[in-house]
Symmetry: none
Subunit: 407 residues, 2 copies
């Protein structure tokens, strides 16, 4: 559950959303299992969902390719060694390159059409300095962008200043290499071409008539270059599958060669089809050793500072996913782990460096006195305070798939 | 609280001094906060106060420049890159260079005068092999010594054998470099010159008449060379200030660019002016992000194996500093950490490798079931067992000043 961990909330009588939520199925699993708290990077260090998932999947921070490549993989783009990938936001700027709305109103039904126009524009111009550019739409204003060509680098700054009413940031090289200087020039040139190409487009005339913000810019950030990592199966000698509605987690899975199960109802929002997700997960367990179920909206509720929404969504998860686990899993030969990639306390409205609860349950596991899934209750459990670095080892150990160290 | 951690003491009914002490204010903070125990280096590893403070301030053991430079900085000397700094003890030796009293009776009111004589002596002789030598008096028999000149090294052994009735140890190079050989020669030569310069001095004749030990030697140890570390502000992007009566901690602070607040009553002894210290701390919080209050005599009581003194001093700290924290801090936007640099159990009369209690308290922190500040009570708290390495991250996380890792 993304961003599960939280802090005491006055309106919930000093409990966290997870502590306040009625979660009989998770509590049943806590009673049968071993609990603890987990630092995803290290105590006190906040972490993004992308790298957090790499870490809880047993990879290291050195394996992180940057956000851009994971986004691009998440929307289904193919990446080759040497490609530079970035995230982009469709945005509205004025002719002086000042940002009016860095998300162009968020809802852009014409986004797919706009992306086609831009891809055609770059292709017809034969690329920029020999660099091919391809965009793909993700969700709302979000796009992924891949640069392919000789002599390019991901060591460039963002053009998205993450604020409105300031100029589009100039893309700058972050090191002295000719590759970084060239790539920065390409991005700055691209930004101008996009504006020229879209400013008088009929789509924007129609949007103007409807009082909607113009879409005439792509603000970039998170440039990265794919690197070669061993797949999950190569690394751990187990097959894994994932159910998720979130693009970044899909990208992480594609990066690691983890199969993403089709699940149309998985939206990554509070309205995600939890029944379809748990059903897809349970089906996947027929074919793979490790099934991963990712739920996004716990994190979104934290970002939006909506503790009651977070609590109610957790109750929903418990009654559908928790119930599915308790009743649908063959506990004779299955072990389950319930945890999070990081804390997103409502108070912070952002990720924090606080540890997350972790619960491991399975046949003959050493169970402790913990009777409920919660930040505080888990802290008193048998597992103590562990690092995400150990999680995959602990899972493989439960599965009897862990190689002995020494003889 | 320096050396706070202790062990069960029979005369205290099997409690530690901290457990036996009546500390209602600390207990109040423990009730409101999250507790744990902390390993300063790693479990079972004793540590000196100097490096311990570097570690709890978020630096690494690689950043440790040796004790000499921290002592020299602590008494206000200016160090330049390439300087070698040492600690020294004024001592009494016989003409055969055997140590009669390695502290020359500890109380040396003429210490300042003696240091001036020695500084003049070295200056008039134009240094030793081109190396300038400067001494400065610290407290009691303690002095700091700085060598400045071409081709010197801190890789030399101590001349202080830390015992009486043995010869002054010869200073030896600890590696094969010409620099280490030269520096060892300088120190051995200096030791002889000091004896020649002081043996017939009127000060010693007067001391002899009063039956006091002669002061005719400086025994050196802890040679080190300053290294370039990022300042606390550069490293963590927060401003810090420290209140301390202790020279080494002052040296650590100067080394890290942490402002040491003037506080005349802070003596580093059991008679330190705790009221002045907490008042100075609270004032400092108007100007800086992190205020540090260091109290030395908890450690000294452990070194002297005085459990009752340690207990009573802790009660004193609680009633003045603890009360000042509880009532004088704006808890809406302040978080406090109470911990130690290491354990100094009375039984050991020295530092031990036992963990220290740690307490973090602030608005909306996940508080646990711990109701008192103590070695055992804290071990059951929410924080579990942490490393000093994480402490600054956890503080920055509480302050919302921690940068997210990943996106």
């Amino acid at each position: 559950m993304d961003g599960l961990g939280d802090k005491p909330i006055l309106d919930l009588d000093g409990r966290t959303p997870l502590e306040a939520a009625r979660t009989p199925h998770f509590d049943e699993l806590a009673t049968r299992g071993a609990c603890g708290i987990m630092d995803v990077v290290e105590p006190g260090m906040p972490v993004g969902s992308d790298i957090a998932h790499l870490l809880i999947f047993g990879y290291t921070r050195e394996d992180y390719p940057g956000r851009g490549p994971l986004e691009a993989l998440g929307v289904g783009m193919e990446l080759q060694p040497g490609d530079v990938a970035l995230r982009g936001n469709l945005a509205n700027i004025d002719q002086g390159m000042n940002i009016i709305d860095r998300r162009a109103g968020r809802r852009i039904p014409e986004a797919g059409e706009i992306i086609t126009i831009l891809n055609n524009m770059v292709e017809e111009s034969g690329g920029i300095e020999g660099v091919k550019v391809e965009f793909r739409h993700s969700t709302e204003q979000r796009v992924a962008c891949v640069l392919r060509g000789p002599g390019i680098s991901h060591c460039i700054s963002d053009t998205n200043p993450n604020r409105d009413y300031v100029p589009v940031a100039e893309c700058k090289p972050l090191d002295d290499s000719p590759e970084a200087r060239k790539t920065a020039r390409v991005i700055n040139n691209l930004t101008k071409k996009i504006y020229e190409s879209l400013k008088d487009n009929p789509i924007n005339k129609q949007r103007k008539a409807k009082g909607q913000p113009q879409v005439n810019c792509i603000l970039t950030h998170g440039a990265g270059m794919i690197q070669s990592v061993p797949s999950f199966q190569e690394k751990f000698h187990v097959r894994a599958a994932c159910v998720t509605g979130n693009g970044v987690i899909r990208g992480v899975c594609r990066y690691l060669g983890i199969n993403v199960m089709p699940c149309p109802g998985a939206t990554g929002t509070i309205n995600t089809d939890l029944e379809a997700k748990i059903e897809t997960l349970l089906q996947s367990l027929q074919k793979v050793d490790i099934g991963i179920l990712h739920i996004k909206a716990t994190d979104s509720s934290g970002h939006d500072n909506k503790p009651f929404q977070k609590k109610e969504f957790l109750e929903n998860i418990d009654s559908i996913v928790g119930h599915g686990l308790v009743s649908g899993v063959d506990w004779e030969d299955t072990c389950a782990v319930i945890t999070a990639d990081h804390s997103t306390p409502c108070e912070n409205a952002d990720h924090s460096g606080d540890p997350v609860p972790v619960l491991i349950v399975g046949k003959n596991i050493i169970h402790d006195e913990v009777r409920s899934l919660g930040e505080r209750s888990c802290a008193g459990g048998y597992l103590g305070r562990i690092s995400s670095h150990s999680l995959m080892n602990m899972i493989l150990n439960r599965l009897g798939r862990q190689k002995k160290f020494g003889a």
